[in-house]
């Protein structure tokens, strides 16, 4: 097969030609994978071939090695590993050869493919000679090949995890990279490639950063690179500094003064991409110190692993003025451009982080700037002053801020209505929101809002909701926090007299022609929800009146004729907002018996609307509607049964939606809600639901995050139907058992640990539900055969010592459930388990009350089981 021609055709403008070519490529791949990959690598390596086909060959090669979806990626890796060794070594030879190509695109493509192959093979201890051969003659190479080699090393470090490369090889990589970066390197491309490679290789340099000499050297080279005449190198070098600041925070002390000088210069003088990275460095230091200080504050006895060096506090007198300067560099129309990110924005963000890091100390440094600029004729100065004020509202103590806010509030309210500049108004509204977010509510001792100014605040905010979309959106946000601050303030809310007016204004906003700009409509509904959520019994009749209003809105979205896909998207989004709003209302009114009783008159109609929302789509279900139905189920209780015949198909459809895994996850949760509402009335639907859930579990296409909720859902169903669960017991237990085996041991990063714990929790909740569901039924003996494995699982996770508190509580509860339900049948089995001794004792002496309570209960259940 003439690959070149097919690859050429595959990029044709003619659709038919392109389609045919793609088809034959696919056939080739399916019929002879080694041959296919080999000819692609040959194409890429062949200097006589046109650059377009070489590039495409490389790209297809890359896509044959990696995919975004986990399961697809896994498949590709397995396929590559099982490929004929000769073919693989031929392919790899071609790839390495391409690194010396004079054609830059070919080299770059080859670099990426090599990294992908390395990503598969190195963890399996294959291709051990790769790094050696890349580095063997790096010094003698022509600049282009050198650049390609460094780029490859960079990609490689991105692709593989540090533990699969020996320190010896790491040293060699770093040496090559740092040498490539140094000022002695004459070729800009080489130096840029080296700097970018270092960015990825930093994670490998743990040992090297612990060695003073090596670290000094690396830091010197990086700092030098920030002074390079080439802007891309300077940017890449600052990116390295940002990465170092979070990875090697504790090693920075000797360099921090120099880094400050470098960054200050860059912020003031350099081009924007460089200046943004320089600011980012300080934001990153703030993040580190906030984390460390939070750990200090959280637990005085156990210090953080890393001490705080108080870099921000020390740099404060110089850092704050530098950041304040950036605030004056706004761009026109930045508030309208949703994608905008400029130095003023970055500077304000950093200032906010600094305030959170140092607290009160920042206030005297910022106040003069505010005072000087807040009334200046130039909008930039007024906006910068307001932005500075808004930025420092989180961090400093209320005692320090409230006197300022008391002075500023009236000014802000007047600026929001009267300032001629929209940026200023936008930032003012945002600042008001921040004031309400941090300095208003039950946590603050001296309230900044009194009966006197409450009316004024609301009037101004409602007025501003008629302003331009961006200002109106911020005003909605401010109202959101104003309402939130009055949550749980007792039976009477200061907002009660304004409730009707607020709701009306928010509804008016949602109907604005320009409500889709600046996500204004979304903000208005979000605020409406919060106002409802935080309302008190006084306004319950008004919330009830809102029900038919929102229902009518939802009804109106269903009236549309034939819609374009764009319109359909918008319709769906609006339906989402309205269903979300109904959910909040249902939860609010469902929370107390009298309001629930009145609300129930709407239940049939609301459910009817939700079903019609589902009917708008054919392939999938509407997430928000699904979730709102879950809320409705709690309100209706067992009466929900009357909706099941119609609703069931959508439930099933949701469960079948693997692609949109959030939809699936939401639906799984709703199955739990409905089980609790219907109890044994869910039995007629159990066959379908359980079949689908088991099918989901056995699929490797389902996103892993849905699995823990599915297991919890087993527990919910078992609790609802009791011994009727017998039908599914064998299948459910086998799924639980295999998941349990997988989740006993964790090897991986924090994210995996977190996931595994959530999986364990789901499994344990299922066991609890099944045991308690079967309790006191004549069929409890059916569970006996599963007990040894469950105890083994409990022992296993106990011995791993890496479970979180939630798992601990659930696990010890399962031990109790097992003893409770099986009684004497499991007595000796329980006594032999580690869980019933060490684990139980550990839980009994836990400081976590939930764990302790679970453990007390388990202890009792066990003593009962073994005393018979």
């Amino acid at each position: 097969m003439e690959v070149t021609q097919v690859l050429f055709n595959a990029q044709s403008i003619d659709g038919t030609v392109r389609k045919n070519a793609e088809e034959s490529l696919k056939q080739f791949q399916e019929q002879n994978l080694p041959g296919f990959l080999l000819s692609l690598s040959g194409e890429l390596a062949n200097e006589e071939k046109p650059i377009e086909t070489r590039k495409l060959a490389g790209l297809i090669l890359k896509n044959a090695l990696d995919a975004k979806e986990q399961h697809r990626k896994f498949e590709l890796v397995q396929r590559w590993l099982s490929l004929d060794a000769t073919a693989k070594s031929q392919i790899k030879a071609c790839l390495l050869q391409t690194l010396s190509s004079p054609v830059s695109d070919a080299r770059s493509t080859a670099s990426q493919v090599i990294a992908k192959v390395a990503g598969i093979e190195l963890p399996h201890k294959q291709w051990p000679e790769l790094i050696g051969s890349l580095l063997s003659n790096v010094h003698q190479l022509p600049a282009q090949a050198k650049q390609a080699t460094l780029e490859t090393l960079g990609y490689l470090c991105e692709e593989v995890s540090p533990d699969v490369i020996d320190q010896d090889q790491v040293n060699k990589i770093l040496t090559a990279v740092v040498q490539g970066m140094s000022s002695s390197e004459g070729n800009t491309d080489v130096r840029l490639a080296a700097t970018r490679a270092l960015y990825n290789a930093l994670g490998f340099a743990q040992a090297n950063f612990s060695n003073d000499m090596e670290r000094d050297y690396i830091m010197r080279v990086v700092c030098e690179a920030t002074l390079s005449p080439e802007v891309r190198i300077r940017q890449a070098a600052f990116e390295c500094l940002v990465s170092i600041s979070s990875t090697y925070y504790e090693k920075l002390a000797p360099y921090i003064q120099d880094i400050f000088n470098i960054t200050a210069k860059a912020v003031r003088e350099d081009e924007e991409p460089v200046a943004l990275q320089a600011i980012e460095f300080w934001s990153s230091i703030c993040d580190e110190e906030i984390d460390i200080l939070e750990e200090y504050g959280g637990d005085f006895t156990g210090d953080s692993d890393i001490p705080c060096f108080y870099f921000i506090k020390q740099a404060l007198p110089a850092l704050v003025p530098m950041l304040l300067e950036t605030l004056l560099k706004q761009e026109e129309d930045q508030d309208q451009d949703e994608g905008a990110w400029n130095i003023a924005m970055a500077g304000g963000t950093c200032l906010g982080l600094v305030a959170r890091t140092v607290g009160d100390d920042i206030v005297p440094l910022v106040v003069p700037f505010i005072e000087e600029n807040i009334s200046k004729p130039d909008w930039r100065q007024r906006e910068a002053a307001t932005y500075a004020f808004g930025s420092i509202l989180e961090g400093p103590s209320p005692e320090k801020l409230i006197p300022l806010v008391n002075v500023a509030l009236t000014f802000m309210l007047s600026a929001l209505t009267k300032d001629p500049n929209s940026h200023v108004k936008d930032t003012t509204a945002w600042t008001l929101g921040r004031i309400f977010e941090f300095l208003h509510g039950s946590v603050v001792d001296s309230p900044i809002i009194s009966q006197a100014n409450c009316q004024q605040i609301i009037t101004v905010l409602l007025q501003s909701m008629k302003d331009t979309p961006n200002v109106a959106e911020k005003a909605c946000g401010a109202l959101y926090f104003l309402a939130q601050g009055y949550e749980e303030m007792g039976p009477s809310s200061p907002l009660t007299p304004f409730f009707q007016e607020i709701v009306q204004s928010l509804l008016t906003v949602t109907h604005r022609e320009d409500a889709s700009e600046s996500r204004l409509r979304t903000a208005a509904y979000e605020t409406l929800n919060e106002v409802v959520r935080c309302s008190t019994d006084e306004t319950a009749p008004l919330v009830l009146q809102l029900v038919p209003v929102i229902m009518m809105e939802l009804h109106n979205t269903l009236e549309g004729q034939k819609l374009s896909s764009d319109e359909r998207e918008k319709q769906s989004e609006l339906q989402g907002l309205l269903c979300g709003c109904l959910q909040v209302i249902i939860q609010k009114l469902g929370a107390s018996e009298p309001t629930k009783y009145v609300f129930m008159q709407y239940a049939d109609q609301i459910m009817g609307l939700f079903l019609r929302v589902f009917a708008c789509r054919s392939a999938t279900v509407h997430e928000e509607a699904m979730l709102a139905i879950g809320a409705l189920a709690y309100a209706t209780g067992a009466d929900f049964a009357k909706y099941m015949p119609e609703f069931y198909r959508y439930l099933e459809m949701g469960l079948q939606n693997f692609e949109e895994y959030q939809v699936c996850a939401v639906t799984v949760g709703v199955v739990g809600d409905i089980s609790r509402a219907l109890e044994e009335k869910i039995v007629p639907y159990c066959d379908g639901i359980m079949t689908q859930l088991l099918k989901n579990l056995s699929s490797n296409q389902l996103h892993r995050s849905v699995k823990p909720p599915i297991f919890s859902c087993f527990g919910d169903i078992a609790l609802a139907v009791g011994e009727y669960f017998e039908k599914y017991l064998m299948w459910a237990m086998s799924a639980l058992q295999s998941a349990a085996e997988l989740s006993t041991h964790i090897a991986g990063d924090d994210e995996l640990v977190e996931y595994t714990n959530s999986l364990r929790n789901g499994i344990l909740e299922a066991y609890s539900g099944i045991f308690q569901g079967f309790k006191n039924s004549p069929k409890t003996q059916l569970l006996i055969p599963y007990a040894p494995h469950i105890l083994q699982f409990l022992d296993g996770i106990y011995m791993e010592k890496d479970m979180d508190d939630v798992v601990m509580k659930t696990a010890i509860g399962v031990l109790g459930d097992l003893a409770d339900t099986l009684g004497s049948h499991a007595g000796s089995m329980i006594q032999q388990s580690v869980s019933s001794k060490d684990f139980l004792n550990e839980c009994l002496s836990s400081e976590d009350l939930m764990i302790k309570e679970s453990a007390e209960w388990a202890k009792l259940a066990i003593s009962r089981a073994i005393s018979v």
């Binding site: 990110w341 979000e526 929800n529 979300g580 928000e624 739990g672 609790l719 569901g773 009962r864």
Partner: protein, 499 residues
């Protein structure tokens, strides 16, 4: 939502944000509900123990199962988990209230001190109720079983509960009953219980619950207290009067409860029983009763003409009749004779009639003064009627005859003539061969007194001899000659008056 930055670097989708918030709120509701259901299931016993017991109540197999699991239940009861303790207490208290309460098994399981411990403020009302019920049941058992309750310090705890300011009628009712059941074991037990000062809270409890509205639970509480009070007052060896005389003011209020029917009637009945015990003593004791101003009401209560109340009052009246004249006079002034005569004429209950007769007997046995009052009250014809009526138990006739013969024995000649004229010789002769020795003797003595009087009044011809002969009196007296006790008297009579 948190407004960290004015500018959202991450292009956070607001729609997602709202969805996330709603999702989180549902997730937290789910978590709470899931845990709630598990909590209910895990503590099923606790929340369903009452229903379990109800179901088991009519089911011997279920009860047997509960019997068999007493050791497990006991270990639950002694565990640290309060809901298990509660459920176990409920179960044991149920078992102890069944027909064959497993008192010894329960005692041996070592839970009794825990029942006492559960009476502490820390435990819930329902828990206390079950505990008291269990202790009550054990206290009703054998003497040895009741000792266990006392040994573990139940009495002071009971008294604390009686005194507590909360309006927990049912609990206090049970406590009062439990104290009563302990006191009922023996006079020693009773004195032991009283020694803790139990009487005072019991009386004030009664005192505090006598005001309307008379709710049912209030009345049943009163009933339990009055019953226990009655137990305190009674006993073969009665408690010292001084120990319980403080009950008199309350007793006065109790007998005034109206209408004395139903449970209120029972309270009144207990109070009357107490008074009958208290009146059984010295003149000083009787005077205390009179000073407590109970007589008028007691006499009025005789108007009920039937039932336990009347019987108790009759006993009290009988006791007062043993007092000094002034004390008797108080009753008379309150119309006691009218009431007694009404009973004699219209009463249908043999026991009441007998007690009435015996009260009158007490009086006729005293002196001519009292006999005259009886005669004046037209009671003699009623007694005569009863002494011959055959529609009551035979003992009624005997008792009526006794009352008459006492009058004949103690009466003046004039009074005896009145009695004979009324027809009293017939009954005395009728009952002289009565199987009841006391009646028999009294009749003989009565006849003797009549003959004696006749001798004096009719110096020439003792008319009464003829009347007795008419009733075959001497024939019957003849038959008594061989009697070891009264044979001699019979013989002498025959020799002196026999025809």
């Amino acid at each position: 939502m948190k407004w960290l930055y004015k500018f959202d670097k991450d292009k956070w989708q607001k729609r997602q944000r709202q969805m996330q918030k709603n999702l989180r709120s549902m997730e937290s509701i789910r978590k709470i509900n899931r845990e709630l259901i598990l909590f209910f299931k895990r503590n099923h016993e606790f929340f369903h123990v009452e229903r379990c017991i109800e179901d088991a109540a009519g089911d011997p197999i279920a009860i047997q199962k509960m019997f068999d699991s007493i050791p497990v239940t006991a270990s639950d009861l002694m565990s640290g988990n309060e809901s298990s303790q509660f459920a176990a207490t409920a179960r044991l208290s149920f078992l102890l209230s069944t027909e064959n309460p497993p008192i010894d098994v329960v005692i041996q399981s070592g839970v009794v001190p825990h029942f006492v411990r559960f009476l502490n403020e820390h435990y819930g009302l329902q828990h206390k109720l079950y505990s008291v019920r269990a202790l009550y049941a054990i206290g009703k058992g054998s003497l040895e079983q009741a000792v266990v309750v006392i040994k573990h310090g139940a009495i002071p705890m009971f008294i604390r509960l009686l005194c507590c300011s909360e309006e927990c009628y049912q609990l206090k009712e049970l406590v009062a009953a439990a104290l009563g059941s302990l006191a009922n074991q023996s006079p020693d037990f009773r004195d032991y219980v009283l020694q803790f000062g139990t009487l005072t809270p019991l009386l004030s409890l009664l005192d505090n619950h006598l005001e309307p509205p008379m709710l049912h639970e209030k009345i049943t509480l009163l009933r339990a207290c009055s019953n226990t009070l009655a137990i305190f007052c009674q006993g073969n060896s009665a408690p010292s009067f001084n120990q319980i005389r403080s009950a008199l003011p309350i007793l006065r209020r109790l007998i005034h409860l109206n209408p004395p029917v139903g449970v209120i009637g029972e309270v009144c009945e207990d109070a009357c029983l107490c008074l009958s015990y208290l009146s059984n003593g010295s003149a000083e004791q009787i005077q205390a009763l009179i000073d407590a101003d109970v007589c008028a009401r007691l006499v009025m209560l005789l108007g009920l003409s039937d039932g336990k109340i009347v019987e108790h009052v009759l006993r009290t009246v009988g006791n007062i009749f043993k007092g000094v004249d002034s004390q008797i006079q108080i009753l008379i002034n309150n119309g006691v004779f009218f009431r007694l005569n009404a009973i004699l004429m219209h009463g249908s209950n043999s026991s009441v009639l007998r007690k009435t007769c015996s009260a009158i007997s007490t009086l006729t046995a005293r002196d001519r003064n009292q006999i005259q009052k009886i005669m004046d009250a037209h009671i003699i014809p009623s007694l005569l009627y009863l002494s011959q009526a055959d529609n009551y138990d035979v003992e009624v006739r005997w008792d009526a005859a006794c009352a008459l013969s006492n009058a004949a024995r103690r009466g003046s000649n004039e009074q005896i003539r009145f009695l004979v004229n009324q027809g009293c010789i017939g009954p005395l002769c009728d009952h002289i061969l009565c199987p009841d020795r006391k009646t028999s003797i009294l009749c003989l003595k009565g006849l003797k007194s009549v003959l004696k009087a006749g001798e004096i009044m009719y110096s020439t011809r003792n008319l009464y001899t003829l009347i007795i002969t008419d009733f075959d009196g001497f024939g019957k007296i003849e038959k008594l000659q061989s009697d070891p006790d009264i044979g001699e008297m019979a013989m002498k009579l025959l020799m002196k008056y026999g025809v």
